[in-house]
Symmetry: C2
Subunit: 111 residues, 2 copies
DNA sequence: ACCCAGTACTTGGTCATACATAGTACTTTT
DNA sequence: AAAAGTACTATGTATGACCAAGTACTGGGT
């Protein structure tokens, strides 16, 4: 019941939504995403991101192609499938609802 | 990777925050909370709420007293401890940060 | 007095996922 | 050829929402 753990729990599920969003804006590979998530203070590490991408790919929401890099091994560039776009739409609704529900409860104390 | 499951995951941790908030507004018992959470479409069932309350109590964030009811068995009326109030403050920060982080990512696509 | 329905709370088990940690594979540099 | 760096993979742990069944107390009907 410590704070850090609760923060981790709060991130659950939301991360998935954020990652789909990032990918929806254009083809990216894992390190790009990691940079953006870090910039947004949505702290994430490799060991969280990669399995999540694999899960999303296996669910048919993402696809990727290998693109060679000038410095290092080739990279997986991800993009959304049609199914992924539709899923993202639904998730957006879910997230908006959740924020709204939370506001209903947390703003009530000021009434 | 179905939608319903993701919705469940998104609720993780946030529920705890909402419940602390509800209790912060005055003494309530479980069914009161359930009603309010349901009204806010933060779907929750008994089997989720009761263990959560027990967890929060064991962590010293809540305390309760038994109050007799006119219809049925006595009820546990909960209120926040000092520690609980402080924890709620921290959680509020965490939630606000999370919403902000998510906005940074999801609003970028419109830029 | 007894049974039954309703209300309040409890408990044990399952599942999904964020994270830690360690490991593999390929490329460039020296 | 060895070392360092980059990208990705795999395994194990912990947490918490949910399901489902169960316990305990109350009051009404017969």
């Amino acid at each position: 019941m410590n704070l850090e753990n609760t923060q981790v729990q709060m991130r659950k599920g939301i991360l998935e939504y954020c990652i789909l969003h990032i990918i929806s804006r254009g083809e990216v590979y894992a390190s790009d995403m990691l940079d953006e998530l870090t910039a947004a203070k949505m702290i994430v590490v490799e060991g969280t991101l990669y399995p999540l991408l694999t899960r999303l790919k296996n669910a048919g929401l993402l696809e990727y192609k290998w693109i060679e890099s000038k410095s290092g091994p080739p990279r997986k560039y991800y993009k959304l499938t049609d199914k992924g776009s539709k899923f993202l739409e639904k998730l957006t609704e879910t997230w908006d609802d959740l924020v709204h529900s939370t506001q209903m409860i947390t703003l009530k104390s000021n009434a």
